[in-house]
């Protein structure tokens, strides 16, 4: 046990057993020292002309120094290094959180103004000022994303199955390489691809919801392939061999053993791929366009989608500018909520579909 609770312990501490015992800072001391350092930093920054950024920078540096030096003097070098790295990692985490918190805060702050029933029940049909909503855009986004999923999941999943279960050698490497390349395609290029394809097929000035779905599929397929591939690789080879040894053909083994075992991961991967494309703006801008009324038929003319809706509300406000800005913010808020909901769904899928372990 620690000896530092004994009164007037002689320094250096004498170990009583075979294990060396070192002095420790009291439990809350590092936090107190850090806060003291931060306070000192704030004071220093006040002296040199106060600003928020200088206060934070001075505070973090001095707080870290205070903890490090105190620990170095009392606890020794190894513990001091530990505390220093803890401070650095925590700071890095804080820095990483700043944009996220700031973004969510700003969107909530501005978006809640129009987060009302009208926004979810009305379209922009014959609305030029206040009121109106994104009913048509929300449904349009859902329709187009669903269509993109219907296109992407079979192609992506089958590609992943091919890569994991069948492909060997050069062809496998080539497919993997091109899937990686596809992952990096800028979204506007995907949009232009769909635009060019449909212009070739149907002539000029064609705008269809399905064009947007095709453009989104180009972005979605590589994500589906990669995530499904990783999940299928995790299925133990022993299960495949067990199935083969029972005289089950390979395709049945894949359909009835491999896929059910991996279903949770596959569901998660697909959901995250959907979340990845649901907020894409550029490809929808050039392929689907925008209308003010509700069109739910992806094979007939322009449709409204949330990202494009937000974009046009922001860039082409009418006379009542504030009403347009409010709608843009709320559309952004709804998109963020959609993405969050999809992530929650992904977690639920992986929890409820995972193979049970019994007991």
């Amino acid at each position: 046990m620690s000896t530092d609770t004994r009164p007037a312990a002689p320094a250096p501490v004498q170990p009583r057993g075979p294990v060396r015992v070192e002095r420790r800072l009291p439990r809350l001391a590092p936090l107190g020292l850090y806060l003291a350092g931060v306070a000192l930093g704030a004071g220093l920054s006040a002296l040199t002309g106060s600003s928020l950024s200088s206060t934070v920078v001075y505070g973090v540096v001095l707080g870290t120094l205070a903890v490090f030096l105190a620990s170095r003097l009392v606890e020794g070098r190894r513990k001091a290094t530990d505390r220093l790295v803890t401070c650095l990692v925590t700071t890095a985490f804080g820095v990483a959180m700043v944009p996220l918190v700031s973004l969510v805060w700003t969107v909530l702050d501005n978006g809640l103004a129009r987060f009302d029933a009208t926004f979810f029940s009305n379209s922009m049909f014959r609305v030029v000022g206040e009121g109106g909503g994104a009913y048509h855009a929300i449904l349009g986004t859902l329709v187009i994303t669903a269509l993109a999923t219907v296109i992407s999941v079979p192609i992506g999943l089958m590609t992943a199955i091919y890569l994991v279960e069948y492909a060997t050698g050069r062809l496998k490497r080539a497919i993997t390489f091109f899937v990686d390349v596809m992952t990096g395609i800028p979204s506007i290029v995907a949009g232009l691809f769909a635009f060019a394809l449909f212009t070739l097929l149907f002539g000029n000035d064609v705008r269809l919801g399905v064009m947007g779905a095709v453009a989104l599929s180009v972005l979605m397929i590589p994500v589906v392939v990669r995530s499904c591939e990783e999940v299928l690789k995790l299925v133990p080879n022993e299960l495949r061999e067990a199935s083969f040894a029972l005289g089950v053909p390979k395709w049945r083994t894949i359909v009835k053993v491999v896929l059910p075992t991996a279903i949770a991961g596959l569901g998660t991967g697909v959901t995250l791929a959907v979340a990845r494309v649901v907020g894409e703006t550029a490809p929808l801008l050039v392929t689907v366009g925008l209308i003010t009324g509700t069109n739910l038929d992806p094979f007939d003319g322009r449709m409204a989608t949330l990202p494009v809706f937000a974009y046009y509300q922001l860039t082409q406000p009418g006379t009542d500018t504030q009403a347009f800005l409010d709608r843009a913010w709320t559309a952004a808020l709804v998109l963020i909520i959609l993405v969050m909901a999809l992530n929650v769904v992904a977690r639920l899928i992986s929890r409820f579909l995972a193979p049970k372990t019994g007991h």
């Binding site: 067990a242 005289g247 009835k256």
Partner: protein, 259 residues
């Protein structure tokens, strides 16, 4: 049901690497044949070549003949899937299907092949197989629970039940007890002794006492050095192998003098 397997001049390759060379052996029906030898000598590879599981590994191939009751298992018109339906296999690590219940695991061989079965018939197969694997009494009240919730020894017996549920002619066992405690090992050895009335059993084992206890015939595999193919050094009745082997290498291995 049990069938005789004759192997002649079998060479087994992984890509360009020759792993096993020139095996000639006759495996008798209704008996237990044990394969022993040091690690990496090709026992498991040989075992897997008997039901064409070897070729599942990319680049793996076989030259020579494996004949079961007059039919060459490597003949051009023989589908490996059909070979595996006749020759079942139990692996070193228990591998029940994690998505299936105990009941479904036992029926996996039938269900995965979409064989239609009446409920009563299926129940009958499950009970018969689980009784055959000495597991019925332990699991009869929880057949709908996941197979992965059983203990290691029970899981291995579940895998044996799964293998015998499809009524194969031959049962191959690749170190089935190496991950099990002595009590589970004893249960499985008893089980093998019961099963040999109905099946031809080939077992790979590192445990020479086990080979001596359960088998009628024993084959000793060895290799001359690293990177060289394994060979079947000696194949004789178990009693002879463990008391008066023909080959010095066998005697050295059994008495612990090798390397």
């Amino acid at each position: 049901m049990a069938k005789r397997i004759e192997v002649s001049d079998l060479d087994i390759y992984y890509g360009d690497f020759k792993a096993v060379e020139g095996v000639n052996v006759a495996i008798e029906p209704r008996s237990i044949t044990a394969l022993i030898g040091p690690s990496g000598c090709g026992k498991s590879t040989f075992l897997r070549s008997l039901n064409r599981m070897h070729e599942v590994i990319p680049g793996a191939r076989v030259e020579g003949k494996v004949v079961m009751d007059g039919q060459d298992l490597y003949g051009a018109d023989v589908d490996p899937v059909n070979v595996r339906r006749q020759i079942g296999m139990v692996f070193q690590r228990p591998n029940p299907f994690p998505t299936m219940s105990i009941y479904e695991n036992v029926l996996a061989g039938n269900r995965l092949n979409s064989k239609r079965m009446k409920k009563a018939e299926a129940d009958d197969v499950v009970e018969r197989s689980l009784r055959g694997a000495n597991l019925w009494n332990e699991v009869k009240d929880r057949l709908d629970r996941p197979g992965s919730g059983l203990s290691g020894g029970q899981q291995q017996r579940l895998c044996i039940a799964r293998a015998i549920a499809v009524e194969p002619d031959v049962l191959l066992m690749d170190e089935p007890c190496s991950a099990l405690d002595p009590i589970s090992t004893l249960a499985i050895e008893d089980l093998m002794t019961e099963l040999k009335d109905r099946f031809t059993i080939v077992i790979v084992t590192h445990n020479m006492q086990q080979a001596a206890r359960v088998s009628e015939s024993t084959g000793f595999f060895n290799l001359n050095g690293v990177g060289q193919p394994g060979r079947l050094i000696e194949f004789n009745p178990t009693e002879k192998i463990f008391s008066n082997p023909d080959e010095k290498a066998t005697e050295d291995y059994i008495s612990g003098r090798f390397g």
